[in-house]
Subunit: 378 residues, 2 copies
């Protein structure tokens, strides 16, 4: 039990004379006031109690703050950190490593044939006893088969994207599955809430891969989504440092989804050529393109410039489709062809300069998150 | 004087037995420890003192926190809030109102003929005894004349943009003028530091008006710039709420430059039609365009779509220039033609729903800034 009596006879309060206020932190973590006190000052004092946590969590109460967040409670995880279910990166090794380190790992089904997805789910279950999930792109042709595998394998968490959240949310929730849906606007976040999802992922313009048409950045998107929905909110896009995670939560997010930082890990299933390329990127080395088809953020390699050159002679969707061709993302990210492949990564790659094991990424994120603060009071 | 003794016999510390630690906040704002205490616990206690500010600033010490920030010290202002020197918005009325409310008001010279600028500086000096500055776009043709007026009128703070910071920084600094330069990348921030500026403004993709080619968002830009320079850093782009201000400072900024939120004020010199339009904007209603000339974020009105239609038949810089014509920004923002005018505003406009006096903007920003926090410790 920690007891913090406060005795004050400050000059600024001299008209109110001396006063004694006692505050007790009980073993169960609750606060109790004791002794006699002056009412107006106590009201002031009570207003301050919320901001006292940094003072009171004197090593004793600190552990009690873990698990008190809506995202950690929803998914039964230690940290409100979700690893994006990225194509060609997010196999069972990455997902299980993230879950074993206290985050939520997601298997990215959009680059997997159904039998490969099943294998990844089964291996992930063997590699971790912690919660993990699967990300599914609702617009993919074999979506029914994917959903069936998820149900058969008893997956408990599904993140959906690129489609209407109404279509599968009810079906999945009836099976006891937690559902989150990825959006890029407050307008679609409201549709998600109406469809009954458990959480919304709001992803800003700076994110890698497929992206919204509005081009709203995470800094502008998160406060707007927060104003429009009251269910748990996960911020994505531009988050690779603990300070960025804290900034996103300052803006109203309950947790974060991190892609690029986890793509540059030992456990990611992508090609080493691509992982090494991520660590070399500088600001301005990625660009949102293919806006006529579906906007996607790519590294500016030869393939990107081939696409860009098509714009010189006007916007020809057929020509874009022809140049894009098929399996370009696999060629680049999985097979490591940095010249002709489609290389999807976020702007935050400019802040990533080494390939790390997932465990080290967590250590770094958590240290940076706890250190990030603004001392100034206005 | 506030005295905070701490008495502890907590179970988690039972092996160390009971201990008494005394802490005294003196009138001059310094902390003093008194009484006997147990060394390891005191070290733990001292580590916590930094995080105690929210507890101790019990109305008495609070004023002492003002002015302790590098930006408030540099410009001798109360709050680290700079009002962007926007064309057609930022006359003497807006600049002096911002300065009178404790921020740093900037007159936007880029939309003013030299004699108009001189008049604005003189009126601003009459309207406030607080520091204010002038923003100058270094690429403008009459730049020498502008610089001379600034020197003649004894302006003490200059924000430069759109040009090489080396050209005028030394000249201005020799006259005792504080100089900040606006950039959109860490690379140019380093050039600014090398040129000897007093502060750097790093502006993200979400900002209105002219913008960087790299399209780096504020969330990704600020930590990167912070890693590369050690002089004071001002974040700009996407900041209109106190939570966004705090997020920018969590990322490493010492202060913020705010444009759009101050454009929608009573004191802005822009047309009421345009101010009203700002309050109606939703997410996705602005877009970065004219990338072949100089990237600029505009409202998607008829003029914008006329420009966009030119891209259908390829990238023709001459056709763009012809459609752009002259004085389109004045037509839109100053004369209020929302159809044919060029309307520059940031993405954060989607979060602005009323025209306010500058005083109310400050009240709102400061309340939101102080309220924005993340309770979770990882």
């Amino acid at each position: 039990m920690v007891s913090i009596p406060l005795q004050s006879s400050a000059s600024a309060m001299s008209k109110k004379s001396s006063v004694q206020v006692g505050l007790q932190l009980r073993k169960d973590g609750r606060l109790a006031l004791h002794k006699t006190f002056h009412i107006p000052l106590v009201l002031l004092f009570l207003k301050k109690i919320k901001s006292m946590s940094s003072f009171i969590d004197f090593g004793i109460a600190q552990k009690q703050y873990h698990g008190m967040n809506r995202i950690t409670q929803l998914f039964n995880i230690k940290y409100p950190i979700i690893q994006g279910g990225m194509i060609w990166h997010s196999g069972w090794k990455l997902a299980s490593a993230v879950s074993n380190n206290g985050g939520l790992g997601l298997i990215g089904s959009a680059s997997m044939y159904p039998d490969i997805l099943r294998e990844n789910i089964q291996k992930c279950k063997q590699a971790t006893d912690k919660p993990f999930g699967v990300n599914i792109a609702l617009l993919y042709p074999n979506i029914e088969e994917i959903i069936n595998i998820i149900l058969e394998e008893g997956v408990k968490i599904v993140f959906t994207s690129a489609g209407n959240p109404k279509t599968y949310t009810e079906i999945l929730k009836k099976e006891g599955i937690k559902v989150a849906h990825v959006v890029a606007s407050a307008k679609f976040a409201v549709k998600c809430q109406d469809a009954g999802v458990d959480a919304v992922v709001a992803e800003g313009f700076e994110a890698g891969g497929h992206n919204g048409r509005e081009e709203t950045t995470t800094l502008c998107l998160i406060p707007n989504v927060r104003n429009h929905i009251n269910i748990p909110l996960i911020a994505a896009g531009g988050i690779g440092l603990g300070s960025q995670m804290k900034a996103a939560m300052i803006l109203g997010a309950d947790g974060v989804q991190i892609g690029s930082r986890f793509a540059a890990t030992v456990e990611a299933s992508s090609h080493d050529n691509f992982k090494n390329k991520i660590t070399e990127l500088k600001e301005g080395d990625t660009q949102l393109t293919l806006k006529e088809l579906a906007p996607v953020r790519l590294i500016k390699n030869k393939f990107y410039h081939d696409l860009e050159n098509l714009y010189e002679s006007g916007r020809n969707v057929e020509a874009l489709k022809q140049t894009l061709g098929r399996a370009r993302a696999k060629l680049g990210m999985f097979e490591g062809d940095l010249v002709e492949g489609e290389l999807e990564i976020g702007q935050v790659s400019a802040l990533i300069d080494e390939i790390l094991p997932v465990e080290k990424v967590f250590e770094k994120l958590i240290r940076e998150f706890n250190e990030a603060k603004v001392e100034l009071t206005l």
